[in-house]
């Protein structure tokens, strides 16, 4: 096992899948010689050549649309959209086609493509480089929406996404690209798509988060234990959609107190669906209203103020104490 950053782990997933399966093709802006602006595809073009790793012209709709065509004709394209803030340029290709071709062709065709894109704040980037709008994709029938939270699950989920027969939108928390290292086994490892994980057991309350928000959430759980003697159960969604609420419901029934955390804007955001599922399936067990700790309903500010925008340990702690106080 080697200690890897998320960038290295994602690179490992791509390299190994490309070695195993010559139908796997990486494409996008600057993914070749440059190895991607975050280096996730570093070295792939040297190993696999420019027929497996395509530097494309600057056009997101064509990157997604070409991937759809490739996928329909037996390939497994993994396209990179340089920043999720530019994935709206191809939103119509994904909504109109990637998400529908299996249905439209009544199973004759399907679209086993992965759209990888870095999302979220925390790296002092320019405008459009820090958004979290996973809800757009999560609300779109026919898609799967996956967000890892560390090097090891990033690698395992990307492998699963590449092998998935349906289109997967794979959001990479750029704040975690190099934030920390984890042991990542050289040997193949996958994680099922559509299964949130309980990453910490507890009975006093439930903290639900994903992606870059897992770290402040786990930190908050630690402080709750240390300072308040409260045992928080922490759940990492990993797959935003299709959302499997089973372990969320179990946990809510057990603790009766829930906080959901995301950096996306609050209104009509992913947290609202989590709240609704728990309302529908754990209502009678809830001791207090579920708290949402989220980004605000504004454009994420330029980087000098982004820290104030992003949920941090303190905000999560306060929300947790609030639900515990009820």
């Amino acid at each position: 096992m080697a200690k890897m950053t998320m960038v290295q782990a994602l690179n490992l997933a791509l390299r190994q899948e490309m070695e195993k399966d010559d139908r796997v093709i990486a494409l996008g802006e600057d993914v070749g010689l440059d190895g991607g602006v975050f280096r996730v595809t570093d070295g792939l073009i040297d190993q696999f050549g420019d027929q497996r790793v395509l530097d494309t012209p600057l056009a997101e709709s064509a990157i997604a649309g070409m991937s759809i065509g490739m996928a329909v004709y037996g390939l497994k394209p993994v396209c990179e959209i340089q920043f999720s803030g530019f994935s709206y340029q191809n939103f119509h290709q994904i909504e109109n086609h990637a998400a529908r071709l299996r249905w439209r062709s009544r199973g004759r065709y399907h679209v086993p493509m992965v759209l990888r894109t870095p999302y979220g704040g925390g790296v002092r980037a320019l405008e459009h480089h820090s958004e979290s709008r996973e809800a757009y994709w999560a609300h779109t029938p026919g898609l799967k929406m996956v967000i890892p939270s560390g090097p090891r699950n990033a690698r395992a989920l990307l492998v699963s996404a590449i092998r998935d027969p349906d289109p997967v939108i794979f959001y990479e928390p750029k704040a975690l690209y190099r934030a920390f290292r984890e042991e990542v086994p050289e040997a193949e490892e996958t994680l099922p798509i559509g299964e949130p994980q309980r990453v910490k057991e507890g009975q006093d309350l439930t903290l639900i988060a994903y992606g870059a928000m897992m770290r402040p959430t786990l930190e908050a759980a630690q402080q709750l234990k240390d300072k308040d003697g409260m045992a928080a159960e922490v759940i990492d969604l990993l797959t935003i959609s299709p959302l499997d609420e089973e372990i969320l419901v179990q946990s809510a029934k057990k603790t009766g107190r829930v906080v959901v955390v995301h950096e996306a804007p609050r209104s009509f955001g992913p947290g609202a669906e989590v709240v609704s599922r728990l309302m529908e399936k754990a209502f009678y067990y809830l001791e207090a209203p579920i708290e949402r700790v989220t980004g605000y309903d504004i454009v994420i500010p330029l980087f000098s103020r982004e820290k104030a925008y992003l949920p941090g340990t303190e905000r999560i702690l306060r929300a947790a104490r609030k639900v515990l106080a009820h």
Partner: protein, 370 residues
């Protein structure tokens, strides 16, 4: 002020072989096997008659809205005739004649136009995409399909169809640029029928031709008389051969005309004159082609009529089969099919919920009427 002129190698040409009076330019006449000529004629007639029949089915409320193709048969058949089964057809939504040529059944089209997903049926032995409604969006898929064919060392090509209006979409631009950069085996067939619903070509773009848009991509482009099946056939043959032999993509502009309404929901009288339509009726691709076949002695009046009545019978039989089949279709719960390879748990729940609701409402219904 004087400057250096930049010479652009690719030139844009116009091809016409059989003019609107049926005058043949002998030296340009492509040699098409007689049986193929007759197949093409039968297919044009089938496309024409089926279109007419669909229109009165729609007027009788027996099918929903659909887009007629009348006048565009030559543009569709002269191009599609060059594809092999393993090639890809990537249609828009107004290529009925081409779809039938590829083997799509008449009844499937009727069923589709009645709002049944079951109406999408792609012949098992054909690599064809289902129709694509968002204008221009399918153009890019052809690039990916063609790239895949090339990558897998197959000499298959992809042929995609779109209209004059589609050339204004960003996806047209991005698709053709990608196609040229990656030199994929794709033929871009633009059916310039002069109208995008109520928008005439003159308001769609200021460029003199649509074919010249190929110059922006360093791609060969050609404009052909789209109502002259010989010209369309010749131009498409060249483009398909080029693509198959690794020569890359081509843009073909077929200059034709939409003789009917945009769809049955449209009223062309609001935006165009009868005179214009009449002018174009004179250039009818079917009449022109039949004159050619008669002159060649390949067709006779009564042979033509025989073909026509065979076509009509075939259509009637298809309508009967379709209406029979549709009685068995429509169990609403099937709307949950083909969402994903594996049904996610929340969808299973929704499906169960629907099934339950559905039972209850059927019960209510019977309650009411019983």
């Amino acid at each position: 002020m004087p400057r250096k002129n930049i010479t652009i190698s690719d030139k844009i040409e116009y091809l016409s072989i059989l003019d609107e009076n049926g005058q043949l330019d002998k030296k340009l006449e492509p040699d098409i096997p007689e049986d193929v000529l007759l197949q093409l004629h039968r297919a044009m007639l089938l496309g024409r008659k089926f279109d007419e029949r669909l229109l009165n089915l729609q007027r009788q409320g027996r099918i929903g809205t659909f887009p007629p193709i009348k006048g565009q048969e030559a543009a569709q058949l002269g191009t599609i005739a060059h594809l092999r089964p393993s090639d890809w057809m990537v249609p828009a939504f107004r290529e009925t004649a081409a779809e039938l040529w590829r083997g799509r059944s008449l009844e499937s089209i009727i069923i589709y136009n009645n709002g049944f997903n079951e109406g999408i049926d792609i012949p098992e032995d054909r690599n064809d995409m289902p129709i694509s409604v968002p204008v221009g969006s399918q153009i890019i898929h052809a690039v990916g399909l063609g790239w895949s064919a090339k990558y897998r060392k197959k000499d298959d090509v992809a042929m995609t169809f779109f209209g004059d209006g589609a050339t204004s979409q960003g996806d047209f631009h991005e698709g053709l640029n990608f196609a040229a950069v990656f030199q994929v085996p794709v033929i871009f067939v633009c059916q310039n029928n002069h109208w995008a619903i109520s928008i005439p070509l003159s308001k769609q773009t200021r460029s003199k031709t649509l074919a010249q848009k190929a110059l922006a991509y360093g791609m060969p482009g050609i404009q052909v008389d789209g109502n002259d099946i010989l010209a369309v056939y010749a131009a498409a043959q060249e483009a398909v051969e080029r693509a198959r032999s690794g020569g890359g993509p081509t843009l073909i502009e077929c200059v034709t005309y939409r003789l009917m309404m945009h769809t049955t929901a449209d009223d062309p009288k609001r935006y165009r004159t009868d005179e214009e339509v009449e002018q174009w009726s004179k250039r009818d691709p079917l009449i022109r082609f039949e004159k050619y076949l008669l002159d060649k002695g390949l067709l006779s009046e009564e042979k033509r009529n025989r073909v026509e009545s065979e076509v009509l019978d075939k259509i009637q039989a298809a309508i009967d089969r379709a209406e029979k089949q549709m009685e068995a279709l429509g169990d609403p719960i099937e709307m949950f099919d083909h969402a994903y390879a594996e049904m996610p748990s929340h969808l299973n729940e929704q499906k169960a919920e629907f099934a339950h609701e559905h039972e209850l409402s059927k019960a209510d219904e019977e309650g009411k009427h019983g």
